[in-house]
């Protein structure tokens, strides 16, 4: 299957009737994933599903395997066993990070990573969804539609006035926004966000939460976050990881009431 075809349209779609279901069809389905680094088991028989259009939060104490989980989905780490089925027919464990990105999975890193020497506008230009081969880049000129798309995104990110500033000179929070914007112009179907609100001011966090809520439905999101307040604002559904396994799943209330979760978090 051609990776470019896959990124245009998802096989998995939401239907109006899905509102009444507990979970929609999975855009990503992890099946018994095992990852170990030199004997240390980072993920053990981990299985979970993310529905299409869902906003899922993944929480868990340090070392629970949240980042490893993202590494597995984006192809940075190959699991020893298990499958990661994307869009019901693609096995991500057999693909490399580039193919996975082209198939429509975007990732934001824990530490904001932008191209510091390039301007804010150019950062978005590079991330923009187009052909990304050497040949295409040699001849590429932005058309007006693409320019508008970047301008809109700059507005959404509240970075319009910084458009010609080198990204390395932006504040931490602005870099976070820029990286989120770079993900969005990539038009991914599934977004993986590693601590998107880390280091943001309260106002910025609130705006991020609002942004994510508006994205859910159109995109599927998986957010790893430590900030419980933030999780409470955005998530309908929460997965708790502990020692590489799913400890609990449910709404934030259910999860917080869960005995195991309390044990792990409070260390009783």
């Amino acid at each position: 299957m051609n990776a470019n075809d896959a990124s245009d349209e998802l096989l998995t779609q939401t239907y109006p009737a899905d509102v009444w279901r507990r979970q929609s069809d999975p855009v990503l389905s992890l099946e018994k994933i095992n990852v170990s680094f030199d004997g240390f088991r980072a993920l053990t028989d981990l299985s979970m599903q993310i529905g299409v259009g869902e906003l899922r939060c993944v929480i868990g104490p340090n070392g629970a395997g949240k980042t490893t989980l993202m590494d597995v989905i984006t192809g940075k780490t190959h699991p020893q066993s298990g499958r990661a089925i994307y869009d019901q027919q693609t096995d991500l464990t057999r693909m490399n990070p580039i193919q996975i990105a082209q198939a429509g999975i975007g990732r934001k890193f824990q530490k904001p990573t932008v191209f510091e020497a390039l301007t804010t506008f150019e950062n978005l230009e590079l991330a923009l969804k187009t052909k990304k081969t050497v040949w295409a880049c040699l001849r590429n000129k932005l058309d007006s539609e693409q320019r508008d798309r970047i301008d809109d995104m700059l507005d959404t990110l509240r970075l319009s006035h910084e458009r010609h500033r080198a990204a390395g000179l932006l504040s931490h929070g602005q870099k976070q926004f820029l990286e989120i914007g770079m993900l969005l112009v990539q038009e991914p179907h599934l977004l993986l966000l590693d601590e998107p609100a880390a280091g943001m001011t309260d106002a910025e966090t609130a705006y991020t939460a609002e942004l994510f809520r508006s994205l859910a439905g159109k995109h599927s999101l998986m957010v790893v976050e430590h900030d419980m307040g933030f999780v409470e604002t955005i998530a309908d559904y929460v997965t708790v990881l502990h020692q590489g396994q799913v400890l609990a799943e449910g709404s934030l209330k259910e999860v917080q009431a869960n005995e195991h979760v309390i044990d792990v978090y409070l260390g009783r």
Binding site: V114, F115, L118, E125, L126, A127
Partner: protein, 357 residues
């Protein structure tokens, strides 16, 4: 960080930048004509000066080529001298055949060989030599680049590998059995395309060809730097991982610019050899390649113009120093490098920007 400098220079004063560039180009094209003036004429220059400036222009092309891979893509090559020498050897083979006429080049007769090795086939034709000048460095760079970029070799490891590559090639070319004249290399050239290589007129022609090559490398370099391709290269330098997750494959981008850079070096080497009249394996010695990196660092990497200036300054100083006080040259080169690193982290070109800012 320095990329916007040149770009903004063009954006702010496009007419001035183009005009200044054209003026320098025309001046350089007219410069060799001065050598044709009769001796004693006030503006006349000696063939020695002409050759010297021509040599420096060849080095400038190497500096620009190195800046493309180091300044933009962040690949510090300490082996660009190899590509330069390969282009030079390809040209040398043709010149040797011209000099030897129907017979074998002298060094082969010394080894009592009675026929040319297979890789000398066709070197009597200038057209094939041109192909060789491009193919030899280009193919080697492509193969080396393909494997090292596929294995994701980066940073200092990449630099060490390029250094080892040029050193290995030097040892190989030192052997007489390799068929490239051993440690004496090629010399004793007589004609190039039927023109005597030592004649001033031929030198003028070679000089103009070098200026054209330099202008072409600058144009190609700027076109690349201003395209999306250039921005992708900068992104590779700064955050390769991020780029991969944006859906780009860095391998192809690196390989393209790496091979292009090697080809430019090869062309520069090919023009260098008839100018100086000799090519031997010492051109591949690691110190030469390191010196090229110094030109780029001194001029200001990632600016294309900077490395050009750097090559001019270092080599200009070198030719003056090695005449005036030869024993202190190395010391001075080291000093220059330290001063620039400490005081001008953006190189000589950074001075211009500071004044403007």
């Amino acid at each position: 960080m320095s990329q916007p400098l040149i770009l903004s220079g063009f954006e702010r004063a496009p007419r001035f930048a183009t005009l200044a560039g054209t003026a320098v180009f025309i001046a350089l094209m007219l410069f060799p004509m001065l050598a044709l003036l009769p001796e004693g004429y006030p503006l006349a220059i000696s063939t020695y000066t002409l050759t010297l400036v021509g040599k420096i222009l060849c080095y400038a092309v190497v500096a620009i080529a190195l800046d493309l891979v180091w300044g933009y893509a962040g690949l510090l090559s300490l082996g660009h001298g190899l590509f330069f020498a390969l282009g030079g050897y390809a040209m040398g083979m043709y010149l040797m055949r011209e000099a030897a006429g129907q017979g074998l080049p002298p060094f082969m007769s010394f080894l009592s060989w009675n026929q040319l090795p297979w890789f000398w086939t066709g070197t009597e034709y200038f057209a094939w030599t041109l192909c060789l000048i491009i193919l030899a460095p280009g193919l080697l760079a492509f193969i080396f680049g393909y494997f090292s970029f596929r294995s994701k070799i980066k940073g200092v490891y990449f630099s060490i590998m390029t250094q080892a590559l040029t050193y290995a090639a030097m040892l190989l070319f030192f052997r007489n059995e390799t068929g490239f004249g051993g440690n004496n290399g090629f010399t004793g050239f007589t004609t190039l395309l039927g023109f005597s290589v030592t004649a001033t007129r031929t030198r003028v022609g070679l000089f103009m060809a070098t200026v054209l090559l330099l202008a072409a490398s600058l144009v190609i370099g700027f076109a690349l730097a201003r395209s999306k391709f250039g921005r992708v290269l900068t992104a590779i330098r700064d955050a390769e991982n991020r780029l991969v997750f944006c859906g780009y494959d860095p391998k192809g981008f690196k390989l393209f610019v790496w091979t292009l850079s090697a080809i430019l070096c090869g062309l520069a080497g090919a023009l260098y050899v008839p100018l100086v009249g000799i090519i031997n394996p010492s051109e591949m010695s690691p110190t030469n390649s390191i010196e090229a990196a110094i030109w780029v660092a001194l001029g200001g990497r990632g600016t294309l113009i900077g490395p050009l200036l750097g090559a001019g300054i270092v080599n200009g100083a070198k030719s003056w120093f090695t005449v005036a006080m030869p024993e202190y040259w190395q010391l001075f080169l080291g000093l220059m490098f330290i001063v620039v690193t400490l005081l001008l982290p953006q190189g000589v070109i950074g001075l211009l920007r500071k004044r403007r800012g």
